[in-house]
């Protein structure tokens, strides 16, 4: 099957659910406005199953509808950075035997972002969901620079300490601040002639590997990523570079 549509209860029924707010008071006409709006989006069989006022001048709707559109999934490539993850012991073994030295990693929540929950889950010894953080690996020397780190400071640190991999984290995405910060970091590394020397990795709940690739990063890790997945990527990629 290549042409795929959303599945409600029958193949190719194209069923979707939507919910949204309109900045108008609620009445029967508001329901009709919501129905027509969803129709104008290209959906058919539009049913406004719930419409109600949520404040003066604002209405909320839950809508079911069908889409006539299908997508050819055979043409889509979005490789995850996480192939099969190794265990901590396997990563340490790989680093010890193939690199013969410790790998230096610097992590930070860059720009004005103060949300360290993601970078801490990956780096802190305790880790996440029973998967130990990178600080616990024998093969890694980890520097967690913390929150609100200017990209200039991170690049300076990486250059001065001969860092092998940089982990940049962004949780706040308002007005594209995450993409702006990620881009600034990549550009500054280029300008300082450090880009080729480091693995550059983006992380955050809204990050995908595809987005990271578009921004010129080596990998991107999104929500639910385990520390061992990041560790595996770093170790394998550095070993590949040595082999190449």
């Amino acid at each position: 099957m290549t042409q795929v549509k959303p599945y409600g209860d029958t193949l190719n029924d194209g069923a979707v659910q939507l919910s949204f707010t309109l900045p108008i008071p609620w009445d029967e006409a508001a329901d009709e406005a919501a129905r027509r709006l969803v129709g104008a989006m290209g959906f058919t069989d539009v049913a406004v199953v719930d419409g109600r006022p949520i404040a003066s001048g604002f209405s909320f709707f839950v809508v079911y509808a069908r889409t006539p559109v299908a997508i050819d999934v055979s043409a889509i490539r979005a490789p995850a950075a996480t192939r099969q993850a190794l265990t901590m012991e396997q990563v340490d073994e790989l680093i010890a035997t193939r690199l013969g030295r410790k790998v230096k990693i610097a992590g930070a929540c860059i720009g004005t972002d103060a949300h360290t929950v993601g970078i801490d889950a990956i780096l802190n010894m305790k880790g996440y969901k029973g998967d130990y953080g990178l600080e616990r690996y024998r093969g890694f020397d980890v520097y967690n620079l913390g929150s609100q780190i200017a990209v200039e400071d991170l690049v300076r640190f990486a250059g001065a300490n001969g860092v092998d991999a940089i982990l940049a984290s962004q949780v706040v995405t308002q007005k594209g601040s995450d993409v702006a910060n990620f881009t600034a970091l990549a550009e500054l590394l280029e300008a300082e002639n450090l880009r080729e020397r480091v693995l550059l990795i983006a992380g955050g709940p809204r990050v995908t590997n595809l987005l990271a690739a578009e921004l010129g990063y080596d990998a991107g890790f999104g929500r639910g990523t385990l520390p061992s997945e990041v560790a595996t990527f770093i170790a394998r990629r550095l070993v590949e570079r040595v082999a190449a």
């Binding site: 707010t21 404040a55 604002f58 004005t112 929950v117 995405t173 709940p205 639910g224």
Partner: protein, 514 residues
Amino acid sequence: MELRIDADAVARARRLAAAIVDPIAAFIDRHSTLSVERAVARLCGVDGVDGDGVPLPNRLVDALPRREDGLARALGAACAETGRTPQQAAEAVAAGEPLADPARTPEIATRAALRPWVERGLARIDAARREREALLARLPQDEPPLLYVIVASGNIYEDRTAAIAAAEAGAQIVAVIRSTAQSLLDYVPYGATTEGFGGTYATQENFRIMRAALDDVSERLGRYVMLTNYASGLCMPEIAATAALERLDMLLNDSMYGILFRDINMQRTFVDQHFSRRLNARSGIVINTGEDNYLTTADAVEQAPAVLASQFVNEAFAHRAGLPDAQIGLGDAYEIDPDREDGFLLQVAQAQLARQIFPNAPLKYMPPTKHMTGDVFKGHLIDAMFNLTSVMTGQTIHLCGMLTEAIHTPFLGDRALALDNARYVMRTARHFGDEIAIKPGGRIERRAQDVLAGAVRILDGVAERGLMRAIEDGTFADVRRPREGGRGFEGVFAKGEDYWNPFADALAEESVPA
């Protein structure tokens, strides 16, 4: 429902917390900070910015000939010598005039010149407090848990729209989240602001805009809607001063949060939190402490004793600053992994434990964030369990969880759904907690007893080493902070023999033991 807990252990924890805080209180008495001094300027009526956008309180403090004497002495001397008002004196400094050495002015003249401005500042704070009390009497709130939502668009005018909509949908408290970098700014931005990341700058004008909008909607709805902001970071005392003047009702204010989670120097934080809380006490503002942060950065089950230990320490610091129990909103959060069997039981144990140990404190209960993934349907369900825990254990300040947590700052519709969720659960289970008994010796009670014992062990260790040493050793949240490291240390100074802070003097006089 009632847990059987060891009253001796609770009393012991309080004694230990007092012993931990006493040496810090002595340190606080001997020191001041640039932010405390800037707060003094604001309370004397100094406001506005210079041509480069630098706030006048900063210009004044930077111009102090001898900072160990405090700002009041120099400002009072300037007013006495020139006949200017504090605002005019600040404008003169901004225009390039130096501040004269206050030692040249007789102390009696200095004090006399500043006294009317000090009295006016205190009178404004007292008037705001009386106005709040009158409004609450005339427009009573719904019963707790008080539903609290955040607005965080970055634009104060969008925030105003969101706040009004939230109030209409049932919110009783609205907090304006600050722009992420503000805690690290060593000044308070000025004027109405429309740009911010992950939040909106806290400024005096933004406070006024929100207060006016919420007063308006309070009248319309017939119930008072409270306004909250953040007295944390490098400008804690100035925010407390501004909030007192503009009748905010609550402030996030923690005795250790900035040290651990923002790398702000510990000496700076201890001195700043004390003066802030003195102001909060006078202005009737309820503080919200930040224990939820221990749970979001580490395992929530393991950290439960640390949360309780921190609550005891926050309470002890608050009492030292004259805050009565009714103004101490101790924090906790619903952050246990949803995949854990009986996690709900552990949450109930922790929430009920805090309720019984701090019976008169308006406890602040924070929603799940760490395990919210983007699955909005599951997120809405976890929030419902959080809502149930809150109503059955009698929490007071209830920050409504958003189904879109971890996706974006809340949409207007997200807030309405969250409020609907909370109102439904709290209505349908309103008296559930009164009707059930906790099984003696069962899982919930045993857990509560373990957490209490764990908190006493932590406090024991901290009391032995001293709080500053304990923080240096990484006792709290596994974070190590050196005594002289972190941001803002250069702004801490020892008071000189001639130091004078008329507000600190006035606020200390009427301190109420809780």
